[in-house]
Amino acid sequence: MIGATWRRWTVGANGRPALVALFVRNRLAAFGLAIVATFVVLALATPILPLPDPDLTDLANRLKPPLSVDAPLGTDHLGRDMLARLMWGTRVSLAVGLVATLVAALVGSTIGIVAGYRGGRVDNVMMRGIDMLMAFPYMLLALAIVAVLGPGLLNALFAIAIVNIPFFARNVRGVTLGIAAQEFVAAGRMSGLGPVRILYSELLPNVMPVIVITMSTTVGWMILETAGLSFLGLGAQPPQADLGSMLGDGRKLIIVAPHVATIPGLVIFVLVMGINLFGDGIRDVLDPRLRSGALTRPSAATAVARDRRLPEPAPDRADTVLDEAVLDVRGLRTGFHIGGEIYRAVEDVDFVVHAGECLGIVGESGSGKSVTALSLARLVATPPGRIDGGRILFRGTDLVDAPLDELRAVRGEDIAYVFQDPQTTLHPLFPIGEQLAEAIRVHHDLPAAAARARAISLLDKVGIANPSERARAYPHQLSGGMRQRVGIAMALANRPELIIADEPTTALDVTIQAQVLRLLDDLRREEGSALLFITHDFGVVSTICDRVLVMYAGRIVEAGATDALLTDPRHPYTRRLIDCVPRLGDAAQAIDAIPGLPPAANRLPRGCAFAERCDRRTAACEVDEIPLRPIGGARAVRCLHPVAADTR
């Protein structure tokens, strides 16, 4: 029984590391927790500890320095024992800070939940009120409230609680709004659950993390601010003392007896720091955005494994004519290293792009085609991406181990990209003309005016009307199709030898897709650039690609000239994939999806990755790695039992 409970806390559901495990990993948070726990234990134990009376004055022994015989921390100006006063004062400060937090959390969360759940007028009135509170500088409002209520510890507590209410109300309202709109709440409402039941069963469990996070950020402030009010003489009144009022008393003696003021301050500091450390830990656990590691800095180029696996020299490949090759990729491997596991996105990929040709890479999402494309200029984000093997030969130099400066000289100048979603891939805060001009000036020493003129002519070239006017527009002022035209203009800016287009039309309207595709193909032909075209769409492939590679689970499974491959696919996967494409005017065609799913990238099988879904599978398929074998006519297939020619 106890074991099961314990496991629930340590292992957690759905394999996610649970609270305890995260705290163990986050040593600073554990340290903060230790500090807070120590304070709480000492505060609770203070009445039973053998301490002198904190209020006992002894003028004969006043202002004794710390480490005196019977006063370890010295005495204050009335001869009272500092250690005892400190312990009792900490008790007060801690209690006041915690109670203020609870009051603020209770009132603020209630306001937030009611406003978020009821919405409409109630929400409007309540939130305008909260806005009014936030219109005041934080401490100023607390002062005004104390001015009304009069000095005193309880009044200081209320003042601090009130000024913190808006933080809870706002955060909780935001989350409640989101939840209240969701289906399960509507379903609950419909099935006749009363608002109180909905609150307890649906809202509170979801809102709780936000309340806890807000508490963890505000409790430290509240202890600081209540101590601050006491310091100003507006909080605890003598003979009662908290850490703040002790500090305030000691202020006048700062030169004669610095310990009287500095020690209470130090205690506040350590306590608040412990709380903040612990609070940061709580936030890391409860805030899903932080947990997913979204806040790690990607490096300027994909990292390369030190023991990168190198391909055998001089591969004898049927489709290789090396002098014409713009890009020669050999044995490329890219993996994502996440939490001790390796997700193999690209496995031993070999291909060559010839000057001026258009090579397509086709595959489902997750097949590794986009990662392959990004790997070529080492644009896969690290962490978690890493190139684990292979060479990327561009004009004879290996980009995988090229120094960053060399790589940068190639990026945008010789190898340019067109990305999928121009909504997110253009900088939202710079005019498009400026972004184009930058692409040119990064590589060419050109006066600003000349770069600008060239940018405008590029915009004109990609069919944007009024280019000199549009150059001043920001991306959000253009339509999706326009933005992708800008993306194409940017890729063409330096007449690169190779353009890598990663699903450039996927995010666009179907009617715009064809236009943009035609534009890209025409212009790159004009400039004599080769094109590596990544897509999941065989229709697009047949329109513009000379040759095609089909990828599955990180590997190339079939390669060949577009026409031959499309009319006569040899790999069972390619064949199924082509069968999935609906043909116009063939109403009888049965579209059957391929049963099953691709294997997980962190658990790739040893043999053929498609075997599990394949109806031609034999025992041999799953034994060993299957090579990509040439089958004549510049074609290759990675299959032991390829589909025979024209058996359809």
């Binding site: 219109a135 100003l232 700062i254 903040n276 800095r297 644009l379 190639v410 990305f419």
Partner: protein
């Protein structure tokens, strides 16, 4: 931009009215009888009644508010009984000192907070990041009133580098150099917590932007890493940092209360603490109203700045 500014300025009117109502209500709801407070507990009932009528306390709340705000528009915030001086004069005199202190602290926290945040983000998990993260944690956990005492003890009393209190030297003081010497310790003390907050937010904001697709685009163009960070990343992160600096302005204006008390800075915060102790309600009212109104103006500036920085904001 102009249309936006006009609209935004008009929007401050209800906020200012709301603030005036809250300030008025807070003070009107104070328990106890102001007439009694002024005349003392031995006053005769007739005198009390006459004073109440003079002060307008016998009228309904709404009427009192209208009278009060009417006077306010004529620059009449009443008379401070403890100083025997018009509240407006006193408040305006004091406000200048607070403004100098708060502006300096805000400048310090913006400069050092942003620099620390960028360095921390760029060197994520490196030594510089670890040290800065620790410093930030120490900064936001420090009680500023205590830090002020410690700095004064060390740099003023022990080392004698800076004066420990006041705004100008009592004898032969005056002039910019004297002011700056007096400003150093209070401004630094006031800026510490805010610097930590700005640094934290800058770090996370820069890291977040660094993951955006358009930063990858900049790298794909061959832009060098320095320019990627200082132009592409920072420009986008700055849009998120500006409102945080605005919030810090509020914290600094309020936190000045402690610093002015510790360093005997003749600002509005110290005046308020004194006025609360002597229960000089009109003075508290005037001070709170002025600082709150000023904060509304600061928020206006922040919104305008953000509007100028981010072309996507339309309304």
């Amino acid at each position: 931009m102009q249309a936006y500014l006009v609209r935004r300025i008009l929007m401050t009117i209800p906020v200012l009215l709301g603030i005036s109502v809250i300030v008025f209500l807070i003070m009107a709801l104070i328990p106890g009888d102001p007439a009694m407070a002024i005349l003392g507990s031995y006053a005769t009932p007739e005198n009390l009644a006459r004073l109440r009528a003079d002060l307008g306390l016998d009228k309904p709340l709404a009427a009192r508010y209208l009278t009060w705000i009417g006077n306010l528009f004529q620059g009449d915030l009443g008379r401070s009984y403890s100083l025997n001086r018009p509240v407006l004069d006193e408040v305006l005199d004091r406000f200048g000192a607070t403004l100098i202190l708060a502006t300096s602290a805000l400048a310090l926290c913006s400069i050092f907070g942003i620099i620390a945040g960028i360095v921390s983000a760029v060197r994520q998990y490196g030594w510089a990041d670890k040290i800065l993260t620790l410093l930030v944690l120490v900064g936001i956990s420090t009680p500023s009133f205590w830090l002020g005492l410690v700095l004064a003890l060390f740099f003023a009393v022990k080392l004698g580098w800076f004066p420990a209190s006041g705004m100008y030297a009592v004898y032969g003081g005056g002039g910019l150099v004297d002011l700056l010497r007096h400003l150093v310790l209070p401004a630094i003390t006031l800026s510490v917590v805010a610097t930590g907050v700005v640094a934290r937010l800058t770090r996370s904001s820069v890291l977040e932007v660094m993951r955006q697709d358009y930063v990858r685009t900049a790298r794909a163009k061959g832009v060098d890493e320095r320019r990627v960070i200082y132009r592409h990343v920072f420009r986008a992160a700055f849009v998120n940092i500006v409102p945080v600096i605005g919030i810090q302005a509020g914290f600094v204006l309020g936190g000045a209360v402690y610093i002015e008390t510790v360093f005997q800075w003749p600002g509005i915060g110290r005046m308020l603490v004194g006025a609360i102790s002597t229960r000089d309600i009109l003075l508290v009212q005037g001070g709170v109203l002025l600082v709150a109104a000023f904060y509304v103006f600061v928020n206006l500036l922040v919104d305008a700045a953000q509007h100028g920085l981010d072309p996507r904001i339309k309304s």
